[in-house]
């Protein structure tokens, strides 16, 4: 591809990068302010999840029927639900569930997707053909339908929900990673590794996988927001996390629907928490993609 004079000029005019990870973060904030906002939201969410026990004014499982369906007030800043449980407390603890499910699902999906994608590209031929057709079968189902099917088979609960959400992520990661791995496979250092007599496992894990991490990271980050939304959807349908665990989607179902008109705070605040978290992960995911994708970086 021909390099345009403007691109060369831009590249030569680019400011020198700061050294160290702090410098990289500062560069990212300056160059990607929206991504920085997303990162900030996620950092707050992580901090809240880690310190929910200290921040929360009440026990998330404690019913207080004397205060049931209370509107936001001095004692309960975001009101209480139908069992008198503090909505703020349950939102704070709910961030733990959201992160646990989101990170768990993304990690499992990314790891298995990467292994399948790299393996498929590395072996090629019939292996690639068969693996990709299997991936096509998974692609034929919308994400939520696939997750519902997995929950129907495995049952409800946090662990099963993580697996249910990770399942549709695997083929998506595998497809993205495979396309990068196809290019990496042709690199001289992979040929050199083969010539040196290294085994398949070593070539895949040591030489190919590290070189497809950028798209994988982008994919995993973008999927985190989607995973949180999926968890909320499954819990709202009664197929995800179960009561009395604090979970945002769970807070939107049952009495929150029944009392939507007379006690709207039961649905509004967890709804806002879901929106904010998904917004944060999407902003960060987009910015990471812009920052890490070489094609976008040079445009």
């Amino acid at each position: 591809m021909a390099v345009t004079p403007q691109t060369v000029e831009e590249l030569t005019r680019a400011e020198p990068r700061r050294a160290g990870w702090i410098g990289a973060v500062l560069d990212f904030i300056r160059q990607r302010p929206l991504g920085a906002i997303g990162g900030g939201i996620i950092l707050v969410m992580v901090a809240v999840a880690a310190t929910a026990g200290l921040l929360a004014p009440y026990n998330p499982l404690e019913n207080d029927y004397a205060a049931m369906l209370s509107a936001p007030n001095r004692d309960h800043w975001l009101g209480t639900d139908a069992h008198g449980r503090d909505v703020l407390t349950r939102i704070l603890y709910g961030s733990r569930t959201a992160l646990m499910v989101g990170l768990g699902a993304s990690l499992i999906g990314a790891v298995f997707g990467a292994l399948i994608g790299v393996g498929s590209a590395y072996f090629g031929g019939r292996v690639d053909l068969v693996v990709q057709r299997i991936m096509d079968v998974f692609f034929a189902f919308p994400v939520i339908i696939l997750a519902l099917a997995v929950v129907a088979i495995l049952g409800t609960g946090v662990g099963n929900v993580i697996l249910a959400i990770a399942t549709p992520m695997v083929p998506r990661c595998a497809r993205v990673v495979r396309s990068s791995a196809l290019a990496v496979r042709e690199m001289p250092y992979v040929d050199a590794a083969r010539a040196a007599g290294f085994g398949h496992r070593r070539i895949i894990l040591r030489h190919m996988l590290p070189n497809v991490m950028a798209p994988l990271l982008i994919m995993a980050t973008a999927f985190l927001g989607e995973a949180i939304l999926l968890e909320s959807s499954l819990s709202f349908l009664g197929l995800g996390v179960q009561e009395p665990t604090a979970a945002w989607g769970l807070m939107l179902r049952g009495a929150a629907v029944e009392f939507a008109e007379s006690a709207p705070w039961m649905a509004i605040f967890p709804g806002l928490a879901i929106s904010l978290a998904v917004f944060g992960f999407n902003l960060l995911g987009d910015s990471l993609r812009d920052a890490l994708d070489p094609r976008l970086r040079t445009q």
Binding site: A82, H83, G155, Q242, V257
Partner: protein, 529 residues
């Protein structure tokens, strides 16, 4: 003056005629109703869920039925049996069957079919499920001396025998089919009911159409019905509110009733009744530490039922604090006496302290964890589950809830694959024999999911059943209740239900009863214009 009187008489007559005409049942239309649960099989003799009765009862008849217009839900009425007599010694019941009743395949229904159906219910062969066979332990044999007569011979007299024949689950099946395959009705439908089966699309709906050859001429009034499976109560309320469905026979919450009434005004008619239903906590006696009665007793002591009643009645379909009988009914323990039982004390702190002491004595550590299995029906299982888990938390127990889909729930519970689980006792008629047989030893009652054997309890049950005076029976029931709920704490009672059915004002010919298992044959139901 005479002329005026005559005019008034004519006017009154015309008004009466108009009223009669206005109230006369109208034929036609399709009744659409949501059903919150889907049954595991089609066999009424085996199942115990309204998920079977609501969509599938219209395809069948029973020997007797509860009068569909009796709000108390206790008055026996003929169905396939036209009449019956009882012998002087009270041990032989003879039923004369209606003539000309045909199965949906065109074959004649005779006493052979009734005998085969009741033999399956009372004396099921190995491998054939019959959940209520314990209710008929008093029956020695069933005979069919001629095609129009069925005779039940009892081992001893029973005051509740006729009531037990009112079970809406006792569908009359075809003898020839049962002779070939006793389990055929688990997967197939073929009865004598007012509607014939069209289709069941799993997870979606059941369709029934009018049986043109129904024995009760002129009925049913409806052209057909569509039972739509909807798990979420919000979706059910929305269907009624949007006039896409006319009624949900199980019941709604007080809030749903108020919302529907506010939205639809006169288009909604509300029927309410005390409900012969209670959620129970079944404790697996085969699992440690629940084999220890001190632990079971601690579980019941942890529940503050009085606070729960006040709070949960505002958000769920539960209300009264109850023992083994529906509160307010003749054999129910008066509240003052009931409150003396462990778990019913009005001093919640004293109860919890005693619960903690018992747990410590039984060697159950603070923070002990167990899984509570709950049925995936939101109302009232979900709010009661949340309430109980918090109550147990207050005595130092750490409980995780696992919600299981309704269709698979009893499969799990029947296998004993649980520690503590939600169960229910819903009667089709308020009668101690029928309400209390649930708690008999597992070898007498397969629906005892606690899997315990308690000969003392069984003996008390038999004695109350044979008691000749009301007072004696009451005392025996009190003793039974004390042993069941306090001394052995085999089962835990939660709160009695309160039934609220807001339905389209177009739905006529349907009367609420204390049981959501009754009045689902739909033969008397019609739709006004």
């Amino acid at each position: 003056m005479k002329r005026l009187a005559r005019l008034l008489a004519i006017a009154a007559g015309a008004l009466l005629a108009f009223t009669v005409q206005a109230q006369a049942p109208r034929s036609g239309g399709e009744l659409v109703f949501p059903v919150p649960s889907e049954p595991p099989s089609y066999d009424g003799h085996r199942e115990e869920t309204f998920g079977l009765i609501h969509p599938f009862a219209p395809f069948y008849n029973t020997l007797l039925r509860v009068d569909p217009f009796d709000k108390g839900g206790t008055k026996p009425a003929p169905s396939l049996a036209e009449s019956w007599t009882v012998s002087q010694d009270g041990k032989t019941y003879t039923f004369k069957l209606r003539q000309g009743v045909k199965f949906h395949d065109g074959s004649e229904m005779t006493s052979k079919d009734v005998k085969a159906s009741y033999d399956k219910i009372i004396f099921p062969p190995a491998g054939v499920g019959s959940t209520r066979k314990g209710q008929y332990a008093v029956v020695e044999k069933v005979e069919a001396p001629d095609p129009a007569t069925v005779v039940f011979r009892l081992k001893q007299t029973s005051g509740s025998f006729i009531a037990s024949l009112l079970s809406p689950y006792n569908f009359i099946y075809k003898a020839d089919i049962l002779a070939k395959d006793m389990n055929w009705y688990e997967k197939n439908i073929m009865g004598t009911g007012p509607f014939t089966f069209v289709e069941h699309v799993k997870g979606s709906h059941v369709l029934g159409k009018k049986n043109p050859n129904y024995w009760d001429k002129g009925k049913p009034y409806l052209d057909g019905f569509r039972a739509v499976f909807m798990r979420e109560s919000a979706a059910q309320v929305a269907a009624i509110r949007g006039e896409r469905a006319q009624i949900q026979f199980r019941g709604f919450t007080p809030k749903d009733r108020d919302n529907l009434k506010a939205a639809l005004g006169d288009k909604i008619t509300v029927q309410e009744s005390p409900w012969d239903c209670i959620l129970l906590v079944t404790i697996n006696h085969d699992k440690k530490p629940f084999d220890d009665k001190r632990v079971r007793r601690a579980l019941t002591l942890a529940l503050d039922r009085h606070e729960g009643s006040k709070a949960l009645s505002q958000i769920a379909i539960v209300k009264a604090v109850a023992g083994v009988q529906v509160p307010g009914t003749p054999f129910a323990t008066p509240p003052a006496e009931l409150n003396k039982l462990a778990g019913y004390w009005t001093d919640a702190e004293k109860s919890r302290a005693e619960a903690k002491r018992l747990l410590k004595e039984a060697g159950v550590a603070d923070g002990f964890s167990f899984t509570f299995k709950n049925r995936g029906i939101p109302m009232p299982y979900e709010p009661l589950g949340v309430w109980m888990i918090d109550q147990w938390r207050r005595v130092g127990l750490n409980v995780r809830q696992e919600v299981i889909e309704p269709a698979g729930y009893f499969g799990v519970i029947r296998k004993g694959d649980y520690e503590v689980a939600m169960d229910f006792q819903c009667g089709y008629i308020v009668e101690p024999d029928l309400d209390m047989y649930k708690f008999l030893s597992v070898d007498r009652n397969p629906a005892n999911y606690g899997r315990y054997k308690d000969p003392v309890l069984d003996d008390l049950y038999d004695k109350q059943s044979r008691a000749t005076s009301v007072e004696e029976r009451k005392q025996l029931i009190r003793t039974f209740e004390k042993r069941l709920l306090e001394e052995e704490a085999h089962y835990l009672m939660t709160l009695q239900w309160n039934r609220i059915v807001p339905h389209s004002s177009k739905v006529r010919g349907w009367t609420i009863t204390p049981s959501h298992y009754l009045n689902n044959t739909l033969d008397t139901v019609w739709l006004a214009q």
